[in-house]
């Protein structure tokens, strides 16, 4: 098992390098003089020159890439001009907030989605199945940003159950209960679509498994039905559900950008959008590379979980 993890980690190296190359290439699509594009047309010539030197823009493209890569490997992602602080500091701080939001959402959508799918499959064509199918249809069709706005309107403005936005109360907040009160709505809004997708997939995976002969065997030996469903059937269905969880994690992370805007959550997604609007390109570049790298590592964890679950996978 340890060998398998190491092997997967090594195989991630080219992917990580590829990510830096792609981001680097996209950023070199910037039309015109990058330093002016970054600093805006009112920039002083000294600033433009300093940035050119910092970015090594006077050097050939390939050399520039390796300088950038080398800097990143030592933790130097450059300096954000709009915030006037190192990019990596800002990204780490913001990523922490995103991780709290997206992580909660991911756990929520995995549990709710799988549970809904299992119930749906076990009661195929029954009332619960039809109700779940209907809710799922609404869930996957509602754009997360619209859903978030409607939730604010209903639960924060009209019912006053939850705070309207932010991560902590401005006065007297900052503790865990405060965080949780702020977290519930955005986490649910972010989880909605992924929950629907996972529920659908879990339902069809479970139905596929429930018609297998070994399920009949389990029933024939008198295994209680609850255990047949939650043990025998779900165990096998998980083999096809887990890869989708990995994919959905990417969608949750993507959706977090919208939710962070709607709920004023101080995460990395809102940081990126603000950075794009202020043309703080070093911040965009650093944020994108960092988050993408984290996502690649997360997917390795998913693969490892998969191999733990299915002994038929050769590790």
């Amino acid at each position: 098992m340890g060998g398998y993890i190491v092997k997967r980690l090594i195989s991630a190296v080219p992917v990580l390098l590829g990510i830096t190359v792609i981001v680097f290439l996209i950023m070199s699509m910037i039309p015109g003089d990058p330093a002016t594009a970054i600093l805006g047309s009112y920039a002083t010539p000294e600033n433009v020159e300093r940035l050119n030197r910092d970015l090594g823009l006077d050097k050939p493209v390939v050399q520039r890439y390796f300088i950038w890569l080398g800097n990143m490997l030592t933790g130097d992602f450059g300096r954000s001009f709009s915030l006037n602080r190192p990019v990596i500091d800002e990204v780490l701080e913001r990523f922490n907030a995103t991780l709290i939001l997206a992580g909660t959402s991911f756990v929520l959508c995995s549990i709710l989605g799988i549970l809904a799918g299992v119930i749906s499959a076990a009661r195929q064509y029954g009332f619960a199945d039809k109700a779940i199918t209907f809710v799922v249809l609404i869930g996957i069709s509602a754009p997360s940003f619209f859903l978030g706005m409607m939730m604010i309107l209903l639960f924060a403005v009209n019912l006053r159950w939850f705070p309207v936005s932010g991560m902590y109360a401005i006065y007297g907040g900052g503790d865990l209960p405060d965080l949780i009160r702020h977290l519930i709505m955005p986490a649910l809004a972010l989880a909605a679509v992924a929950t629907g997708v996972i529920a659908r997939l879990s339902r069809s995976a479970m139905l596929e498994v429930l018609r297998q002969d070994y399920i009949r065997t389990a029933r024939a030996k008198g295994v209680p039905e609850r255990r047949v469903i939650m043990g025998h059937a779900l165990r096998v269905a998980m083999v096809s559900i887990i890869p989708v969880l990995g994919i959905q994690a990417g969608f949750v992370l993507s959706g977090a950008v919208y939710i962070e805007i709607v709920f004023q959550w101080p995460g990395v997604g809102r940081m990126l959008v603000d950075a794009i609007l202020t043309r703080d390109l070093l911040l965009v570049q650093g944020g994108v590379v960092f988050v993408a790298a984290c996502y690649v590592l997360f997917n390795i964890a998913v693969d490892v979980a998969q191999s733990l679950l299915d002994p038929r996978i050769k590790t």
């Binding site: 609404i138 996957i140 069709s141 509602a142 002969d213 024939a220 008198g222 295994v223 990417g250 299915d310």
Partner: protein
């Protein structure tokens, strides 16, 4: 194609989706012709007018612009941009996929590596990076969304192309001297096109949503031009005071995405043949019971199947798989049930413990009594406590009947622990003992094997060990040796025979092989089209079969050393049991059939212990 459309529209939800998206498309097409106000003309005096006030159906926004007009023009823009992005992504992605799949080798390798890397990004990061580089704007948002979806098309189309590239017609085109470009355009593309269209139809809703999302973030369409996303984004600041400005565009996005989703699901279902047949069902823990007639009275047999009727209800058709079967066993007795595939023998066996897949299976009549207690219609928990504990099953094909992800020891232990509260350690040592009982060598280490690590014969022994785990009174063995080779088969049969003699076990042995019956069973029942056509002591039936079907069935068994005797196959096929003609079911295949055979049911009769369901038996009983 028309069959596909019929299927699609029989799905009411898909039809609803089609109607909604059709209506929206129509509205958007005729928008310039409608008597609407200019969507961009501001009138700050009239700002935030509520919906359904005079002069504006949906009210006005924060600059007093007419919301209905902005909504329709915004929808028009969103749909155009989304569809354009889908077209661009599909064209570029498919081109890359076709090139990778057609040329293969290193080209394929390099292209797919790049595609994999692009797919390693959460999609929005890539889109944001592109918009960051190009600057905010609707055109750039369109490029970003298209670019993000290129890898998806490339990977899908490459998969299809690889399958096609090695087919004969491509080779033939090559031999005919056609160039690569021509082969791709005239031979490959027409075959790939339907897949491209389907992939597009499932992603276009998604791309509309993504462009709307970028506009919502302020990175797409710039004021005063508005698509649905930027309308929603601008309305956000006034959401709390004037919610209608947010709700109007939000509901439109929701309707578009939902109708496209519904339609897409319908397309997928109509194309998937498995869903069409309704074969994807078997979720219930016990077979459905719907008995209309009286329940037969109890007997003193150990296990008695009494006038059992089991049907499969598929759509409007009822397949009568078991049409009134009565069988009984006493302790220590072995009863053989024999018949061709589809004769209803397995369904009879599975009905005993309510294991017939349901839906579609329904038990419509009769009773199954264990020690006098009716099991059909018994509450689930009563049935469960008998399953595996008093009446156990051995199934055919142990690779599919053992759980693939549990160790065999766990599966054996579970069989015991479902009925007895014993510790895990005890259950494990009992499992090892069971493996020894069925003569598995190295039981100590085999207990930790997964089924895929064992041979077929070994797995079948595990299946038998599992049936024996709780020392049941009855074992129902459903073709337990069919999947095995002859030597293993002989070992398994002698194992079962020993168990029966040692433990006084009753066995119902289901098979299509008279040789096996002769070796093991005291009595035999022959089934045809869901009914018993003959029964009696094995030797008596073998020596003097009374039913023409039995006689032909015995004649089918090749005899060792019998020389090159022509095997007498039975002409024709067993009947389909949804629409049986009156009279003897075997009459169409029987050369002795007469007019009276086809008039009315033929009773199963004869001096006990023999009985036959025939008006003109081969032998007088």
């Amino acid at each position: 194609m028309s069959a596909f459309l019929t299927l699609l529209f029989r799905n009411r939800l898909a039809a609803m989706g089609a109607v909604v998206i059709g209506a929206i498309l129509l509205l958007v097409l005729i928008t310039p012709l409608l008597p609407l106000q200019d969507p961009d003309v501001t009138a700050t005096a009239d700002r935030f007018k509520r919906p359904f006030t005079d002069g504006s159906v949906l009210g006005t926004d924060h600059l007093g612009r007419d919301l209905l007009s902005r909504l329709l023009y915004g929808t028009r823009l969103s749909l155009t941009v989304g569809v354009a992005a889908a077209l661009i992504a599909a064209t570029i992605g498919s081109a890359i996929g076709i090139i990778a799949g057609y040329f293969g080798g290193r080209t394929d390798n390099i292209i797919m590596r790049i595609v994999d890397m692009l797919m390693a990004f959460p999609y929005i990061l890539l889109a944001l990076a592109i918009v960051a580089a190009l600057g905010p704007g609707l055109m750039n948002a369109l490029i970003a969304v298209a670019a993000v979806n290129v890898p998806f098309f490339a990977r899908n189309i490459r998969g299809i192309t690889v399958g096609l590239a090695n087919r004969e017609f491509i080779d033939a085109a090559r031999l005919a001297g056609m160039g690569h470009t021509r082969i791709i355009l005239t031979e490959l593309l027409p075959n790939v096109l339907p897949v491209i269209v389907i992939a597009m139809s499932t992603t276009v809703g998604w791309m509309i949503l993504e462009t709307a999302g970028l506009s919502f973030l302020g990175l797409g369409s710039q004021p005063p031009q508005a698509d649905l996303g930027s309308m929603l984004g601008e309305a956000r600041s006034a959401m709390i005071s004037h919610p209608h400005t947010s709700i109007v565009p939000g509901i439109m996005i929701f309707l578009i995405v939902m109708s496209i989703n519904l339609l897409g699901d319908g397309v997928r279902d109509a194309l998937d043949p498995r869903l069409r047949s309704g074969a994807l069902s078997r979720p219930r823990a016990t077979t459905l019971v719907d008995r209309k007639d009286d329940i037969p009275a109890a007997t003193d047999d150990l296990l008695a199947i009494q006038d059992l009727q089991t049907q499969f209800h598929v759509g409007k058709r009822n397949y009568r798989a078991v049409g009134g079967v009565s069988l009984a066993v006493k302790p220590g007795e072995c009863l053989g049930v024999i018949g061709e595939s589809g004769s209803g023998k397995s369904v009879t066996a599975l009905s005993v413990m309510g294991l017939v897949a349901s839906p579609p299976g329904v038990i419509t009549g009769g009773a199954v009594r264990f020690q006098g207690q009716d099991l059909i219609g018994a509450p689930y928990e009563t049935l469960r406590q008998k399953r595996g504990d008093r009446v156990a099953y051995i199934f055919q094909d142990p690779l599919s009947t053992l759980h693939p992800l549990y160790r065999v020891g766990q599966q054996l232990a579970e069989a015991i622990q479902s009925h007895h509260k014993i510790s895990n350690a005890k259950a494990r040592s009992r499992a090892i003992q069971l493996l020894k009982d069925v003569r598995i060598p190295n039981a100590q280490s085999r207990v930790d094997n997964y089924p895929h690590e064992m041979s077929g014969g070994m797995r079948q022994r595990v299946g038998i060990a599992m049936a024996l785990a709780n020392e049941p009174d009855v074992i129902i063995a459903d073709e337990p040796t069919t999947a095995l080779d002859v030597t293993v088969q002989a070992q398994i049969l002698s194992l079962l025979d020993d168990l029966r003699r040692d433990r006084g076990l009753a066995i119902i042995f289901i098979t299509h092989d008279f040789g096996v019956v002769a070796q093991l069973c005291d009595r035999v029942a022959v089934m045809y089209a869901g009914q018993i056509v003959e029964e009696g002591p094995t030797q008596a039936v073998l020596d003097a079969p009374a039913h023409p079907y039995t006689k032909r069935l015995i004649a089918c068994v090749p005899e060792l050393g019998g020389g090159r005797r022509a095997l007498a196959a039975i002409p024709g096929l067993p009947p389909v049991v949804d629409d049986l003609p009156p009279g003897c079911a075997f009459a169409p295949r029987c050369d002795k059939a007469q007019e009276s055979c086809r008039n009315g049911d033929v009773p199963l009769q004869g001096p006990a212990p023999r009985a036959v369901r025939c008006l003109f038996p081969e032998e007088a009983l």
